[in-house]
Symmetry: C2
Subunit: 409 residues, 2 copies
């Protein structure tokens, strides 16, 4: 595959043999790189069901004889929800459930790409900082690939996510600090010891892996394009990748428009919302982040410039939702569709609910980016109560009457 790297800030073009991560002129914060593919192959058939993300191999910046993680990634289900669409006043609604990936999140798409690149460059150790999903994804996929992973997490990361790391045999550094501190720390250490980086935004290829999520939607909807694509936003790479996936499909000529991309942030972690609304995309607003949606609880987003530029280019925008709205969205999404998302996953649905009045008669796809089993505790606060009974039919019937399930008996 013939491609080059281009700084999203200054536009300088680099040979991928020359530069691995970010633009030396603009630095890692603003100078994240875009992978620009010189010429796309012309075809319209993708064997998604057999190959998952590798159905798009020749639209990715990898060699023909590239390594593929021996786990099935991608081809996650997309569900059309007619009744729910009607209830919300939409013409169509699709739920893309990426919680069905091997380690339970969208991040497996990016990790697969990181491993392919690391193998090509003869790295055997990959590191990352993560609030959880990127970490468990890296741990699981390196295990399956016989590689080592070293992972930096804030020590407050959910128990399930940390357990997943240890089970897979990752070396876990739990940092007494925020995700943002863990990120900077990991980059410093990773650079010093020459490990391959799977840090969001820094590594330009992660976004290329992630774009397969949008490409899958295009194929699964038989080249029909929704008016809106809605996804939660932490560092800003996933939301950018959704744009890139649709854009690539348009470049190839397989679709004729790109959906308006809507990025949803938690109100307590809405750094990108603030930057976007300021209009000065190259002056990131950093904040102290707090949200139940740990996967997007990012105060110093690493791909803010790209996210703002590309979302604007799509005609979309960013929106904040409260933790309360996210909690309710987890429950409503699960009960309406059977899809149980983690808080960050359900945040996209919370965003849709908030904006539905502006979307009347339009179609939308929401990306549920993580599995609800990854964070049971947050869901618990919104999920309702258990009925305690004695092992006695009389007691059971009395309770069933109280809660209105039965009248008789």
């Amino acid at each position: 595959m013939n491609y080059f790297l281009k700084c999203v800030n200054c536009g300088t073009v680099y040979d991928p043999k020359e530069i691995m991560y970010t633009c030396p002129k603009c630095g890692p914060r603003l100078g994240t790189l875009e992978v620009v593919i010189n010429e796309y192959p012309k075809h319209s058939s993708f064997d998604l069901k057999s190959k998952g993300i590798w159905a798009f191999s020749d639209l990715l910046p990898i060699d023909e004889d590239h390594y593929e993680v021996p786990l099935f990634i991608g081809n996650t289900p997309i569900y059309e929800k007619k009744a729910l669409a009607k209830k919300l006043g939409l013409s169509d609604l699709w739920i893309k459930n990426d919680g069905r990936n091997p380690t339970g999140s969208y991040k497996d798409r990016a990790t697969a790409m990181a491993i392919t690149k690391a193998k090509a460059l003869n790295f055997n150790t990959i590191y990352c900082a993560s609030t959880g999903n990127a970490a468990s994804s890296l741990a699981g996929l390196t295990a399956a690939s016989g590689m080592k992973s070293i992972i930096f997490v804030p020590k407050t990361a959910p128990e399930a996510k940390i357990t997943q790391l240890l089970v897979y045999g990752a070396i876990v550094m739990a940092v007494d600090g925020t995700y943002d501190e863990a990120f900077d720390l990991s980059t410093e250490i990773g650079n010093e010891f020459g490990w391959y980086s799977r840090n969001s935004a820094i590594n330009p290829y992660l976004l290329e892996g992630k774009k397969t999520g949008a490409m899958e939607v295009v194929v699964q909807l038989d080249f029909k394009v929704p008016d809106f694509a809605i996804v939660s936003v932490g560092d800003g790479t996933v939301v950018s990748s959704i744009y890139k996936g649709f854009k690539d499909m348009k470049t190839i000529g397989l679709i004729d428009k790109i959906p308006k991309i809507i990025g949803v942030q938690a109100e307590g972690a809405n750094a990108i919302v603030r930057t976007f609304e300021s209009g000065h995309f190259d002056r990131p607003v950093d904040i102290d982040a707090h949200s139940i949606a740990d996967s997007i609880a990012v105060g110093k987003p690493r791909d803010v410039l790209k996210a703002c530029k590309w979302v604007k280019e799509s005609g979309g925008y960013f929106v904040s939702v409260t933790d309360e709205e996210i909690g309710k969205a987890i429950i409503e999404l699960a009960r309406e569709t059977g899809v149980f998302g983690e808080p960050a996953g359900a945040a996209a649905y919370a965003g849709l609910k908030k904006l539905a009045k502006d979307f009347q008669g339009k179609s939308a796809v929401i990306f549920v980016t993580g599995n609800g089993l990854k964070d049971i505790k947050s869901a618990m606060n919104f999920a309702g109560r258990v009925n305690y009974v004695k092992p006695d039919p009389k007691d059971v019937k009395s309770v069933l009457r109280q809660i209105g399930v039965i009248q008789e008996g």
Copy 2:
């Protein structure tokens, strides 16, 4: 589909219009029913990748215009593990990961079938007793189908598993007693109020849904049949279903042998091992069950007769593994293959490890029946430790030296 029901104990044949659950002569404990299909369609092509379990619709006891839960069930990945096979002395090893189903377990196959039958019979409420997987499966799939579920759990069931039920909107009765008491209580109440039963073994159609797991293996291995098929055992329905799936494929003429079926139980819950070894399959040995593998911690198994008969017919047998072996199996399986199973899921791998010396040169498939994210606490006890660090490179390097990751620095 033309079929009848046959008591697994006395052999009496029933019209499915006449009997819903168990043989009235033999009672619910011994008189579980087999679905006997009169004539199988002759074909050999199954669109597993597009349809999941419904690729086998015409091999299931359902109507042509049957209802299908609007979630993608089945077509779970199967991984060939050559290096691991070699390490264990096997000719071939395949891992079937059913933790990738919508609610994270094999049970979704059975629940899908229960819902199809309930819809055909105009039920809107389904009940079950369960400590976990059957319950979360019923809660999730009824939510997606717009139905109600009422679920009886022992009040000691892990909070996390109960949360999943509440998220999906199930009515949860937490019984001050054991799983076995919850089971009997649920049946009494369910019968009285005329709800449809999704209780293991009692409902003969659950096994038919579950048999699709074995059928998928046959299709995925391109009609090659492993010498051994290994799966964990609680009530005994899944292990029976594995036999039935292979047997049906043989009846149709698509394969010419059935694997030896190996049922793996936790040592503290090995009621079926004991019954099998006693030789008196119709005199179930009940015990007080204790195991970290909660999904198979069953003291009074409900499908013991069928499980013993059919496993024997396959030339297979049952084996016990300790909780320690199960814990180690979770970790080793995850690190060797990237597949993180819950304790009951990894128990199959523990069984394989235990028996590997008898399987030299043979091929085997193991079924990982549940996702590791469903029970992180058990995994945590075997998973190793997190390294706590300050957000300071010096501290990180000191820890990395201590644990032997780096020498220099």
